[in-house]
């Protein structure tokens, strides 16, 4: 009788810990999903100033960006005039670029996916695999801290063993109101490679949003790419015809 009782207690203990572990993983995953949904909205239109900083030079350009859900986005450079009209269309994992000078839409081959996007610290892969963090990783909540009275979750994401991702680990800092504060990329030795950080959280497009984003290589402080959201509007819907190669080529039609 007593034996049975102990066994029962033991069993329920195991069950509880197992359950709470999955609950925790579920938790971390839902935090990430919620925050990605929050940051992306259903659809958005933004004007972004992108600055590429290198030790000996710096250049900046203005980009107009349309996004719809996780899968579709369109970027078009509107300034400086030299680059005006250059565009990138992303649908799912596929990407096309358009260069007005040669008047051609090119579908990016696999060989170009790991190259830098417009010379920045973002690779084409970073753009095309944005949903990879949700689908290919196992997430664990490893802690939380208080920053300015708001709770910030620290989430460790380890890629599934077979997943085609180059990173060994990612660590995300997400504030309790769904704002991503930083996303850090690690190699397989868990050494940091690069980090994206959001600053100046303020009201943008009707919700709190970091106005400035910076992607920085960890081993070189002097190399970074900064995105400044000058305008941001969230929409319920955007037309499907926006995310087509013909619109990439002929804007405004």
């Amino acid at each position: 009788m007593a034996k049975n009782l102990i066994f029962g207690l033991f069993l329920s203990l195991i069950l509880i810990t197992a359950f709470s572990a999955t609950a925790k993983a579920q938790d971390a995953r839902s935090i990430i999903e919620a925050s990605f949904n929050y940051m992306r909205g259903n659809a958005s239109i933004a004007t972004i100033q992108m600055t590429i900083h290198r030790p000996d030079w710096e250049r900046s350009m203005t980009i107009k960006a349309w996004t719809k859900g996780q899968k579709e986005s369109l970027f078009r450079i509107i300034a400086p005039p030299k680059d005006n009209g250059n565009g990138t269309l992303k649908k799912g994992r596929e990407m096309w670029i358009y260069n007005p000078r040669i008047n051609r839409v090119i579908k990016l081959p696999p060989s170009m996916m790991s190259q830098a996007w417009m010379g920045s610290d973002f690779s084409n892969n970073d753009l095309s695999k944005t949903d990879s963090i949700i689908n290919n990783y196992t997430h664990t909540l490893i802690g939380s801290e208080n920053i300015n009275g708001k709770k910030v979750y620290l989430i460790k994401s380890i890629p599934e063993p077979e997943a085609p991702v180059v990173w060994g680990m990612q660590i995300l800092k997400i504030r309790e109101d769904n704002i991503i504060l930083s996303q850090e990329f690690f190699d397989e030795d868990f050494k940091p490679v690069k980090k994206m950080t959001g600053f100046q959280i303020q009201m943008l497009g009707g919700k709190l949003f970091p106005k400035v984003w910076r992607m920085q290589k960890t081993d070189d402080r002097n190399k970074y790419t900064e995105l400044v959201y000058n305008e941001l509007v969230f929409k319920q819907k955007l037309k499907n015809s926006l995310f087509t190669t013909s619109n990439l080529r002929n804007p405004g039609r």
Partner: protein
């Protein structure tokens, strides 16, 4: 008689004879030994080319060689494989492969590589990967995630055994296919280029990744003798369906083939250059020897010796000089080649430069019958030819001239 007289004549001035003999010895040694080294470089280049996934003969879908994309693969490999089993000589070996250009990625680096899907057991018999030194382990036939990469790539990617490598390529529906592999083996190759260029995975895994079903890119065949390639090619061509093409390594590696021809010509020119330097020495010495003996030749003439016999006599002297020089030079060269045949000449220190020319890191001299006979014939024939001048000169001396000469 000629021999005996000639032998005595040449040793009348032993110092001069020794000097010219040393010149001939060095010349011949130089021709044979350097010729063997050059031949060694060429042979290594050819062997390298053939074992670096070329083989003596390859079978492709028509169009693959112009545009090596996944769409140009062989769709029905069973047919080809059956036919190869039936027609090839029994000691020929062959293996099928899938090969695509791909991008390898890890957290810090990316580079373009040739991703090769192989049948590990068959491939080991026919290309360098079977005999290459491998750290870790060679591909196991059922390994789903293993990938074998070169040492140079590992160094470049700052990675090591057991780490992940992501490969991206285009599949048959023109979508981007990517897959994670783990480095299960690191190979070393003769050329750094090979180490950077090729990565190996199991063929079924790659076929699945590229949605290729059981299609293959090529069949590579190794024959027991490289020279049979053309003959076997013709037999295969007759048997295979017309949408496939068969090529020998000479067609597959046109650069190498051109190199081979250049080297053949180059070696001959080199022989001539060495000989010209040596030839002047021979003419000079023989001429000296002839003028010294002017009175002697005059006397012989006065006694009624036929000019032809004088020519023969002088030529015999040169012949003895040449034969002794050639024999010693050849022996010396053989000794040098023998000494180097164990370890070769290690060019690792200049690897980057040697790579550029497509040379191996270690050169082993190779003596070929053709080079050897060319060198010796050049020396012998041209040596006799140039010494014909002093010989004729000697035959033309008249007794009167000889008397006047003091």
């Amino acid at each position: 008689m000629y021999l005996q007289i000639a032998w005595r004549n040449i040793w009348r001035n032993s110092r001069r004879t020794t000097v010219i003999m040393i010149a001939i010895i060095i010349g011949v040694w130089n021709m044979v030994f350097l010729g063997a080294l050059m031949r060694g470089i060429v042979v290594a280049m050819v062997n390298n080319g053939i074992s670096t996934l070329t083989g003596d003969i390859q079978v492709h879908q028509k169009g693959f060689r112009d545009d090596p994309v996944i769409e140009n693969s062989i769709k029905n490999p069973e047919l080809v494989e059956n036919m190869l089993n039936n027609t090839l000589p029994s000691d020929a070996r062959w293996a099928s492969r899938v090969r695509v250009s791909a991008i390898a990625n890890n957290a810090r680096h990316s580079s373009s590589v040739t991703l090769v899907g192989i049948d590990p057991l068959r491939e080991a018999d026919i290309s360098f990967i079977g005999s290459a030194a491998i750290q870790g382990s060679y591909l196991k036939p059922d390994d789903k995630n293993g990938i074998i990469v070169g040492q140079a790539l590992v160094d470049k990617f700052e990675t090591k055994l057991g780490y992940k490598l992501i490969l991206m390529s285009q599949d048959t529906s023109l979508e981007i296919a990517s897959r994670a592999f783990r480095i299960s083996g690191i190979f070393k190759a003769d050329l750094e280029f090979t180490e950077k260029k090729f990565v190996f995975v199991n063929m079924p895994v790659l076929q699945q990744m590229l949605k290729l079903q059981n299609g293959i890119s090529e069949v590579s065949i190794i024959l027991p003798d490289h020279q049979d390639a053309l003959h076997v090619k013709n037999t295969l061509n007759a048997e295979l369906p017309s949408n496939l093409e068969v090529n020998t390594w000479r067609e597959l590696l046109p650069m190498l083939n051109a190199y081979l021809k250049i080297y053949d010509g180059f070696i001959l020119i080199w022989y001539l250059v060495v000989f010209i330097a040596m030839g002047f020495g021979i003419v000079n010495t023989t001429l000296m020897a002839v003028f010294e003996r002017m009175r002697e030749f005059g006397l012989l003439k006065a006694l009624g010796m036929k000019p032809g016999r004088i020519i023969a006599g002088v030529l015999t002297e040169t012949l003895i000089l040449l034969l002794i020089g050639m024999a010693t030079g050849n022996i010396l060269a053989f000794l040098c080649v023998y000494a180097l045949s164990g370890s070769g000449i290690d060019l690792s220190a200049f690897a980057a430069g040697a790579e550029f020319a497509g040379m191996s890191r270690v050169i082993f001299p190779v003596i070929s019958v053709w080079d050897l006979s060319a060198a010796n014939l050049v020396v012998l024939v041209l040596g006799l030819l140039v010494s014909a001048y002093p010989a004729i000169k000697a035959a033309r001396f008249t007794p009167v001239e000889a008397l006047r000469h003091t």
